[in-house]
């Protein structure tokens, strides 16, 4: 029997998620329905296998890195709150939010937080630095077997050279922000809802 009907989201939870992530009521209920349909084990959490079952994600070269972004350090399950918190990074930035006062805590979908999400995709060991090795590994994921080690190595060297400012041969978050300061992050890292 369908357990979807019996695990309706409570109003209080929806309000809390709304405050934390900024999604609207209907967006939250829709994403909850999506969450439950992915949750094949029906235990209220998603595992890595649940994500890998999505064919379009499985064929994405960075699929595993993206899946990893949902799971906090050392954990194997993500609940709905965590799911929404990660998805919130991709909410489009609304105009009225740009003028929020500095006292309010930074929303999850600010430009900085979007860049942080992308930075963490590169930073494999979560030490807040992208080393040459990490860059090489991510590049290898994106190109597969089609480019030789040497070529890839020179691409990585060049990239680090251009971005690195303090000479430690790795890219910190601030250097990352500097490199991408002209890129239209708001548009390219946002997903528009239809409702």
């Amino acid at each position: 029997m369908g357990s979807r009907a019996s695990t309706l989201l409570r109003e209080e939870e929806i309000e809390e998620i709304k405050k934390e992530t900024g999604f609207s009521h209907s967006q939250i209920t829709r994403l909850y329905s999506r969450f439950t349909s992915l949750d094949k084990g029906e235990n209220g959490t998603l595992s890595r296998e649940d994500f890998q079952r999505i064919p379009e994600l499985a064929i994405n070269p960075l699929g595993d890195r993206i899946i990893n972004a949902f799971f906090p350090e050392g954990e194997d399950q993500v609940n709905f709150r965590g799911f929404m918190r990660t998805l919130a990074h991709f909410r489009p930035i609304e105009d009225n939010e740009k003028n929020k006062d500095a006292a309010a805590s930074e929303p999850l979908n600010s430009r900085t937080n979007k860049l942080l999400f992308a930075f963490r995709l590169y930073d494999l060991d979560r030490d807040d630095k992208i080393s040459r090795d990490e860059l090489l590994q991510v590049l290898r994921m994106m190109v597969g077997v089609n480019i030789s080690d040497d070529q890839l190595g020179s691409i990585a060297d060049r990239t680090i050279q251009e971005a690195d400012q303090n000479g430690d041969n790795s890219i910190s978050f601030n250097e990352f922000i500097k490199v991408l300061e002209k890129v239209d992050v708001e548009q390219k890292m946002s997903i528009r809802f239809l409702h």
Partner: protein
């Protein structure tokens, strides 16, 4: 002793009452359902039933909406379309766009790799997490209006007394009246099929045997159609499949077979099962040549192809019925057609089947329900309403290979049935996607990086 005498009269009375009600029950059954089924005639009762139900459902939905508004709840509206807006830009286009916005260099000297390239993969990945085209095809479609079945409602809270009473009444009618009636009919239909086809099996091969076998098959399938209260509308019957052809249709549930076979005679293809199914299959093949495979033979593709082509070459044999998707899909889309049946080289008669989900969802989610519980669910829904379109026959054209032909047929079926045409394999319901798709993406991206190097070496 006196006490014993007291019970007897009541016992007798009870027996007489039970006997009478059974007789009445069966007579009604015979007159109103079985006899029309034999002759293929309909009293129109089912259509009247369907129209009445529709009116009740609309009322129920409006009641729920009003109730929700009164309580100031936001009604959960299922998404029949997409949740998010996806732009159909290619990998190359998107990455170029991203680079252009961030680059302060001359466009001609395009860089090999930018750290911002990752944005493309990132966004596509998260988009597919929010909403993808494939996984939602393997679970039942969500409805906009409520059809008084709790199994298809996500808003079921106590809205009004009238609605709950109606729902309770509906429950009573469905489980205490409709379900026993339908189960009786189903048993009648299946047992008649087994008995009569076995009898016909004793006749010598010839026109008489074929004629009788066709009539028996049609009659029993019609009884089964009434057992499910299936209200079917056939369109374009002039395109019905002929001998020596292959009929292909989209697959939603095992009921598809009953729906198609009650309007025409087909040779079935499939694996021999054990148990009741096996008994039915074995007796059916005595009356007319169906194609049943053993479990071991199914794996041998050449053997399968040979038996199928032998069958279609014999013009006295009935057209073959095949479901090329290979698995049940939820009737919102058509997934990849396996090319086996399109390699045989005979005329293909496409058929599109579209169920109306308002009366009961016909999709068989085999990971959620077994066959028996699925059939019980079907028999305790209101009705099964569907439309069948017979499309004009198609043959493989010059220079077209089996895969292209299969895609062409699939597109025609999808267009007619109003279904989404997908290239994804229905086998993804259970299996993993092939690595070749990921490798394609990687190759595309590599070309962007390396391609610029080649330009550079040229200049």
């Amino acid at each position: 002793m006196g006490l014993f005498l007291d019970f007897n009269p009541f016992d007798n009375l009870l027996c007489i009452l039970v006997g009478i009600s059974f007789t009445v029950w069966f007579t009604l059954l015979l007159v109103f359902i079985i006899v029309p089924a034999i002759f293929g005639v309909s009293f129109g009762v089912r259509r009247l039933y369907m129209n009445t139900l529709l009116k009740i459902f609309e009322w129920a939905t409006r009641r729920i909406e009003r109730g929700a508004k009164d309580k100031n709840h936001l009604l959960y509206k299922p998404y029949s379309n997409a949740i998010i807006a996806k732009e159909p830009t290619s990998l190359e286009e998107e990455i170029k766009q991203i680079r252009r916005s961030g680059s302060n260099r001359d466009l001609d000297a395009a860089s090999e790799f930018e750290m911002s390239d990752i944005f493309y993969f990132c966004r596509r990945g998260v988009e597919s997490i929010m909403d993808d085209e494939v996984t939602k095809r393997f679970s039942a479609e969500e409805l906009e209006s409520w059809n008084l079945l709790t199994r298809s409602n996500y808003n079921f809270q106590h809205i009004s007394l009238r609605l709950t009473v109606l729902w309770g009444l509906g429950l009573l009618i469905r489980y205490c009246f409709l379900l026993p009636l339908r189960v009786t009919l189903a048993f009648t239909g299946v047992s008649l099929l087994v008995v009569l086809t076995s009898i016909i099996g004793f006749l010598p091969n010839g026109r008489m045997k074929n004629f009788l076998s066709e009539q028996v098959h049609l009659m029993c399938y019609r009884i089964c159609v009434r057992a499910l209260t299936a209200i079917i509308t056939y369109h374009d019957s002039e395109n019905k499949p002929k001998n020596g052809g292959i009929c292909v249709a989209n697959h939603t549930s095992p009921i598809d077979v009953i729906i198609l076979a009650s309007d025409g005679c087909y040779a079935m293809v499939g694996q021999i099962h054990g148990g009741l199914m096996g008994v039915v299959q074995r007796s059916m093949v005595k009356a007319c040549p169906h194609i049943w495979f053993d479990r071991s033979e199914v794996k041998d593709r050449h053997l399968v192809a040979k038996r199928l082509s032998d069958h279609v070459e014999d013009k006295t044999k009935l057209p073959i019925l095949i479901f090329p998707e290979g698995t049940c899909i939820n009737n919102t889309s058509v997934m990849m057609f396996k090319k086996g049946s399109f390699e045989i080289g005979s005329t293909v008669y496409p058929v599109a089947i579209k169920y109306d989900p308002r009366f009961g969802d016909a999709f068989w989610n085999s990971s959620q329900f077994g066959m028996v519980s699925y059939l019980l669910r079907m028999m305790s829904s209101w009705a099964i309403v569907c439309s069948v379109w017979y499309l004009p026959p198609m043959s493989r054209q010059e220079g077209e290979d089996a895969v292209q032909f299969a895609n062409r047929v699939k597109a025609a079926i999808a267009r007619q049935g109003g279904l989404v045409d997908l290239l994804w394999d229905g086998g993804l319901k259970r299996g993993k996607v092939k690595d070749t798709f990921k490798e394609e993406q990687q190759k595309l991206y590599s070309k962007m990086l390396v391609g610029t190097q080649e330009d550079r070496s040229r200049s």
